[in-house]
Symmetry: C2
Subunit: 227 residues, 2 copies
DNA sequence: TCTATATTGATAGTAATACTATCTTTTATA
DNA sequence: TATAAAAGATAGTATTACTATCAATATAGA
């Protein structure tokens, strides 16, 4: 049995739905590869078109501009991650186990569960670490937010906040703690690889220290009595 | 008595030292104003030159490109902030008081202590919230890091980690906790203003909720027994 | 199967951006 | 007052970020 995951994306994220054509899928696939390779700043629709084997105009038919495309793939990532969280924590009743699973999913590179044909979830995870916050750190946040472009991110955050409250219903900052965990799952990994003196992690290659730090922090916060 | 604060900047941050000429100071001053107004993406040396009353070439004599300029003002900010921390926590022996002061300095808009002639610390603080992480979230991090461009940031982080250890010498992740506090002081404020559902803060205008959240988190982590 | 429609390809063009180069004038300084 | 350093003025280039147009092709419905 082969199951393919289809994520329904907000219409405002694109001009033409890239999931509904070969060209569209190639655009997404090569965007991820190119952004991963050269970074978002060096990424242009011209280079993308070359890789894909179409023209600049061809890409512009799908996405207004490269920032929108970045928001698209980020939204896809967050929706996909929330699905992973749902899937992996389904039938688990102990919120401790759930929260540990969530941290693991946030902070570690994925060992593919349900396959998605044209998106490389590992590359995407790496991209979101470096480029993810650029989606909203702009002068246009509020407009983009009104268009619900960040809904998948906010949904995931709300979901995690829920589990936090399940574990400790009296904790006063579940959403802020959730967004902290999400962001730090990325930032601490980035720091580990590129600015290690901002962390306490040696030069270990994997993300186990990041996971340990986040778990330690989360459960200290949730177990500790008010100060 | 008028004291002016001079921050000694790494030579690699600029081509010509902007602190040593009127034009240079104007470039910094108007950069801050323009980036604050339009955001870093829309900021160009041409527009800057117009504001300053010089030419594009004039600006290029001081800074290689706009990214370097951003790193410069960010470095200035972090150096300035570490000075503020030093100054405000001097002669305080209780690490609790010190840590609370640090959080306050990180998260709240400044009420000028020692004046700096041409840098508007309030605008700068706002800029760093939105644009600060863009200084290092690039493909060039490692090179820039080798050039010591992020030293002020790392120094501040190390300083805070020190105070954390003063309070709890057994805590295992002082640097990661410090960088978490620094980043979240900015992100939670940004979220509060632009993506409020990622926080637990109402629509209060000031930063008191952010401060409360960070203090609560920090001291729970440091007071709590190992899990 | 024919035909209307949507999609893609190919090409061209424009305004703005991110620079580099050069030459002249002004300013500081010894 | 001579000299060097800084700033001003101007020009030019390659790339980026688009928009527009028209022909070719695929597809889907009648």
């Amino acid at each position: 049995m082969e199951i393919e995951l289809q994520i329904k994306m907000n219409e405002k994220l694109f001009l033409r739905n890239p999931e509904q054509s070969e060209l569209g899928k190639k655009i997404i696939m090569h965007s991820i590869r190119l952004i991963h390779k050269n970074g978002f700043e060096a990424f242009t629709f011209k280079k993308l078109a070359e890789e894909v084997g179409t023209t600049e105009a061809g890409v512009y038919r799908y996405f207004e501009n490269k920032h929108r495309l970045l928001i698209y793939i980020a939204a896809w990532y967050w929706a996909w991650l929330e699905y992973q969280v749902m899937y992996q924590t389904n039938n688990i009743h102990d919120p401790v186990v759930k929260l540990k699973m969530i941290i693991k999913l946030l902070a570690t590179t994925v060992k593919e569960g349900v396959q998605t044909s044209y998106v490389d979830a590992n590359l995407l995870h790496q991209i979101i670490i470096t480029e993810g916050s650029k989606t909203y750190l702009t002068k246009r946040v509020s407009e983009d937010n009104n268009d619900k472009l960040f809904k998948p991110y906010k949904d995931l955050c709300a979901h995690i906040a829920q589990v936090i409250l399940e574990y400790n219903p009296n904790y006063r900052y579940p959403k802020s703690l959730a967004s902290t965990i999400i962001e730090m799952a990325h930032f601490q990994n980035f720091f580990k690889d590129h600015l290690p003196s901002l962390t306490d992690f040696g030069d270990k290659k994997d993300e186990s220290d990041t996971v340990a730090f986040l778990e330690d922090m989360l459960f200290r916060v949730l177990n500790c009595h008010e100060n």
